[in-house]
Symmetry: C3
Subunit: 270 residues, 3 copies
């Protein structure tokens, strides 16, 4: 229960600080990421040109790097802005979208992890297993990973990469060092809207921009998305569908309060 209280306090801190969250993200879900950041009470800025990213991130409280639609130009900007954010000491949240699907994504993710050393990584189980393979550079880790459950993958990666790991999916897992927790919120319909993963990453960065405890920040972001998905789904009436759900998802994040988190959030120690 203690962590649920910290998550709820984390929302209060977020609403008070209104952190500026600098994103370099993909052009598919960028509008959703900006709107979810605003909905929870933070402030988004999207800028990716290499000539301005260092200056822009100097105002920011946290940074999102998302490789959903990467290209040579944005990769270079990500590396540059990531180093600047590290220098400045603000949390960097990395979303390795589609890592493993192509060599470009795998190589880029590896480079971002090595050069930038993100503070939080959020992805689904497939992506995390690929990263676990990269991290060890031992053949066969993938198949080992297949046998691991989410908690083990998350703990393994967190220790290997010295960062907070957030795995989202049927089962959400957050790990940091030897701490791990499971979040039981969420609804399968979230996977039928593009960008709910990217939006969870933006929410994590919004919380982490206002809270020093990044384990709590990651859990808070993931719980907010999951709980909002549940509430949006419950609100659907006969004949409504995914378009209405999407609007209600933003409604639910915008209406999120410490009380709703405490009442609806379900989190257990791993």
């Amino acid at each position: 229960m203690e962590i649920l209280q910290k998550i709820s306090d984390g929302l209060i801190a977020l609403k008070q600080k209104k952190p500026l969250v600098h994103h370099i993200t993909n052009y598919v879900t960028v509008n959703d990421c900006a709107n979810i950041t605003l909905a929870i009470g933070a402030s988004p800025v999207m800028a990716d040109d290499i000539e301005e990213v260092e200056e822009m991130v100097s105002f920011a409280s946290s940074l999102v790097l998302n490789i959903g639609t990467l290209n040579s130009r944005s990769i270079e900007s990500m590396l540059v802005v990531g180093k600047k954010a590290k220098e400045k000491g603000i949390p960097i949240v990395f979303d390795p979208v589609g890592v493993g699907a192509t060599n470009l994504r795998t190589v880029t993710a590896k480079q971002i992890i090595e050069d930038v050393r993100p503070d939080v990584i959020r992805g689904n189980m497939s992506e995390m297993k690929i990263l676990a393979g990269i991290a060890t550079e031992i053949k066969g880790v993938d198949s080992v990973a297949d046998e691991m459950d989410g908690e083990k993958v998350a703990l393994y990666l967190s220790q290997k990469l010295s960062c907070v790991i957030a795995i989202t999916g049927k089962q959400d897992v957050i790990a940091q060092g030897n701490k791990v927790c499971l979040i039981h919120n969420g609804h399968p319909i979230l996977s039928e809207v593009t960008g709910t993963g990217c939006m969870a990453t933006s929410l994590i960065a919004s919380y982490c921009g206002a809270n020093d405890d990044l384990f709590v920040g990651a859990a808070a972001g993931v719980m907010t998305m999951g709980l909002a998905g549940e509430l949006a789904r419950q609100s659907l009436k006969a004949g409504e569908g995914i378009g209405t759900f999407r609007a209600r998802l933003f409604d639910a994040v915008w209406n999120m309060t410490p009380e709703i988190l405490e009442k609806g959030g379900t989190i257990t120690n791993g």
Copy 2:
């Protein structure tokens, strides 16, 4: 009536296979294309960097090429990924947005048609008349085209380019070789939302990724969009408008069933 049954069966096949649809598309409506692909039950992936498109398309069941906001970088990727898709034998659906408006678009569309040889082309009547002019390279074809009705343009282009032609507008026409059909679904309000053409293209690619009969796939995509537009329009109450319509359009595609297609779809032989 036989074709309506095939369309309805096509939706069953789509829902079972959940085909991955690789898109290289424009940054204006890309989010809508991803969401409509999910709403009908397929799975979208958007990737346009030349270093990864060939690898990415290797997982895909169909490919969308859409020149809505083309640039030299994306054109090159389209040609490369198109050839790879052709090699692999998956259907390529081309949306020649704005062809004829600028020389760049006309030249690019011509190059894509010649080099990639798309399996389905979807556009409005103006775009198709331009393509008919390109195809023949005879001056005055445009004015000839002006006198042709939709069926004639569609049949002419289909035979000339050896592909399925889908013309959408007041009157939707699908042609393949010497087969042609007219779809009478749709509502003028669809033209007041950006990207309904692009989304129809994504729906066609979703159907064609799960059905070998591309004539049926093209008809199914166009009918799904038109019928969803009718249902979304009917659902509007006093004071509601285009924003609510847009949400309901996604609702209607998400709620589409073989039964709704069979009951609401209106299609005739040309």
Copy 3:
């Protein structure tokens, strides 16, 4: 009251002409800009490749330049298309998003203003104060600007840059030469949706594409956005939030009529 009548007539002119509005804008809110342009009754086209922008703008009735996510490629296209639009004599509406935040934005905004000479500039008060500093190139102007109220900043900039100035925020101000007016519509919730500023710019360009009086066009665009925001906010029921608000905002713009503007618009001379 006279200006309110002109604004209301401006909407009639817009609906009759359905002007084509060419945008070079950012990838964050581009879909919203296209949809708001359609919602008010104009027609959007988004094209930014340098090889086609001059040809594309030749069909347009007005041009939007928005530096929300600028890069070297789009900057060059903006300068080229701006000069072409000027040659052609269509109104150019400039949105200096984030000017002052980075040197790249400040330098680019300055270059656009000098080389293209936009007809209307819309921004928030911070952006306008930066532009006022650029315009004078006298150190300390920023602090002078800090003491100025909105009307003075708007009048100063309008005279300096020989264009219409629209400052949006808590207080909307429109100035042209020595004319100034204040628009009292709007709602704070508009700042909780990304792109409401960009959309106001698109609405201004929609009105200016159909009305020669750019002071009226700018006031009409700003009033339409503000009034639509009020109406959308009023329509929210308990439990609804920002997602529903966003849909209703488009509903309200789509349902806007001369009568609604005349009844709900509140404008005073400065």
